[in-house]
Symmetry: C2
Subunit: 395 residues, 2 copies
């Protein structure tokens, strides 16, 4: 069972992870995963977006039971977000073959190319491509490299590896994603397993306050159009509005960009992002309506919606099956809602989908200090193995 | 008299100026100025900081009467800030020699290397080096190039030009700086000339709010340490405090830096700059005391003072002499305080110093739209020429 910990070490080296889609770190990990799968009896397929599929045989040659997660990270991310579901999924499948031999139905491990949106302004491109729901547009990273340039360069290298298949892959019969919680609820309740009922609704915006660049010493205060003065007042009001919203609602301004961003020049523009999420579409709409009213009152302020995702209900059947297994295994668990987006919310529109969470220490994630105890990581893999075993030997 | 306009065109090419100290644009302009001076009978000297001195002969070989300004600009600056005082000073000197021959005392044009602090975190390094008041420390630009590396590379190229002297240059007998106002007061009063009584006191700070990076969806709002939430509330309070301060006080937050600056990550830190100025040291101290009290109340917030300049009184004698000349010449003028820092405030501690302002359209500066009418530019040069002529032929 130390295989998972060895693999995590081998695939990360350090705590600070910068595995942005199609970059060198991403490429070397997807390559290592392909070789690992092939050495262990899997057929590897890489589609044109760099999703890696490892197919392990069943007694029947029908649609597989699938597990997996995404290979990319946020900038300065941690070791577990995404990667744990990929390597944990691999270990769970290995465990089934080692302990029980070939199951009735085949098993598939999926390592999605991209979920975080940390390099290009698009999220879930891996699972969206897989499910045929990706709308393509020309997008570039901060260095001006287009998504398609980066994609072709990286994916070609994976597809040219020996024995790698390159066709599009059909959908599995179910999808189970193992993931760290990324929030504090399991850590606080001292439960070992989280079984996910659904995933939050989410909207993102980009707000730009337009001002007039001017000299910080010679322009009388009353004659200024100071973009930071307006933006900071606006941000403070938005946070105050969010503080009065539903308890489960989250509101985050994570990015600020000022132009020209010079200490002795009155700011010409101040652009900031808004990320807000709620457990239901209605809660989110109620907040966003108030928020947009507030933004409309601000002069010289423009707002663009950059993301809109409805709340997702995951499979009740699969969750209840996992709850029964957790009880058998004597693992404490709770059901919960996911505040983070996951590939599962894309997959769930097409196949019964469920998620298994393990605790995040102090609820911290998306940073190098993200941490889950080894024992907790291994418990998640054991539950996943039992869950996949039951599914792969069922009707 | 179209010489000035030709020179301005020749030294700028476009409206957007990025002549940061020691960069390529800076270097080619200082080089062009040296050649221009030498072609017109001046001895050129370049000191180790890249200040360029053009010395024009007098009948006596004593201390010169000096004029000039700085060669550098802010990032995305305009065509007139600094450069007008250099090229306008050159034209004024030319006018004297053409119309009156060699004056009693020599004349000197100074093109200071740096005043804006736009590349390295240090301001007035040119005039401070000249007056022997520069305190050196190891500083770097945003690319990690140290001040000394950049300086040596650029200055060596100037010092190796034919007939260029490289020794340190003694102080002049007086210093007169011609400059655009950079504020709206002349434009509003429809006066053509501003005669400067003094320069504002100025303090700058860097404020850092420390938070905890975390996931924007999974971290409950009440458990966050969101650096942007704290910083935006703080900035809004600071602007409100400034709105209640003395009328002449200016307060600017011009720079914001967020880490990691990703839309779906709660900010780990938010750093911003403060620039505040007032006509007297007492006014500034009164405001800054309140401001620091407010900042002290904010948790996880650290403050560093990065600049402290006392209010400067310029020469009353020289200003009154220029007022008399302006009256003779039928130029409308007003006295005013400078809200911007200038090399004159460094020079004034050592030699009688005065400044002549011309109107800035709409008071706009430190941006490519900075503009002064040609007729106003030429009026400033004419007054400067008469002022230097009187000084260079006096006792």
């Amino acid at each position: 069972m130390s295989q998972l910990l060895d693999l995590l070490n081998q695939f990360t080296h350090q705590h600070n992870q910068n595995r942005l889609v199609y970059n060198q770190d991403w490429l070397s990990n997807q390559r290592a995963l392909i070789l690992l799968g092939q050495r262990n009896g899997a057929t590897a397929t890489v589609d044109d977006y760099g999703n890696v599929y490892l197919d392990f045989p069943g007694q029947m040659n029908d649609r597989p039971v699938a597990t997996g997660s995404h290979m990319d990270t946020v900038k300065h991310g941690g070791r577990y977000d995404g990667l744990y579901g990929v390597l944990g999924g691999f270990c769970a499948i290995q465990q089934i073959y080692e302990q029980h031999g070939i199951p009735k139905h085949p098993l598939r491990l999926i390592s999605f190319s991209e979920e975080e949106g940390s390099r290009f302004p698009a999220t879930f491109t891996g699972s969206k491509y897989y499910t045929g729901t990706l709308q393509t547009e020309v997008i570039s990273d901060k260095q001006g490299i287009t998504f398609d340039e980066a994609r072709r360069l990286a994916v070609t290298q994976l597809q040219q590896l020996p024995h790698v298949k390159t066709q599009r892959v059909s959908l599995p019969v179910t999808f189970t994603e193992l993931h760290i919680e990324q929030g504090p609820r399991l850590a606080e309740s001292h439960k070992k397993i989280g079984l996910v009922t659904g995933i939050v609704a989410q909207k993102r915006y980009e707000v730009t306050v337009h001002g007039q660049a001017n000299h910080a010493g010679t322009t009388p205060m009353i004659q200024r159009q100071d973009a930071i003065a307006t933006a900071s007042a606006l941000m403070a009001k938005l946070y105050a509005l969010a503080a009065k919203a539903a308890e489960d609602l989250t509101f985050t301004i994570g990015e600020i960009h000022v132009s020209p961003n010079v200490s002795n020049v009155v700011a010409e523009s101040c652009r900031f992002t808004i990320d807000c999420r709620a457990n239901t579409d209605d809660q989110l709409t109620a907040f966003v309506t108030q928020m947009l009213q507030l933004l409309e009152q601000s002069k010289r302020t423009s707002v663009i919606e950059t993301l809109c995702v409805s709340a997702t209900r995951l499979s009740d059947d699969l969750r209840m099956q996992n709850a029964a297994l957790a009880t058998q295994m004597n693992y404490s668990y709770q059901t919960l809602f996911s505040g983070a987006g996951h590939d599962s919310q894309i997959m769930s529109s097409f196949v019964p989908t469920t998620m298994i969470f393990v605790p995040s220490e102090a609820g911290i994630s998306h940073t190098p200090t993200e941490y889950t105890k080894s024992a907790d990581l291994l418990m998640g893999v054991s539950l996943l193995a039992n869950s996949l075993f039951v599914q792969a030997n069922g009707e």
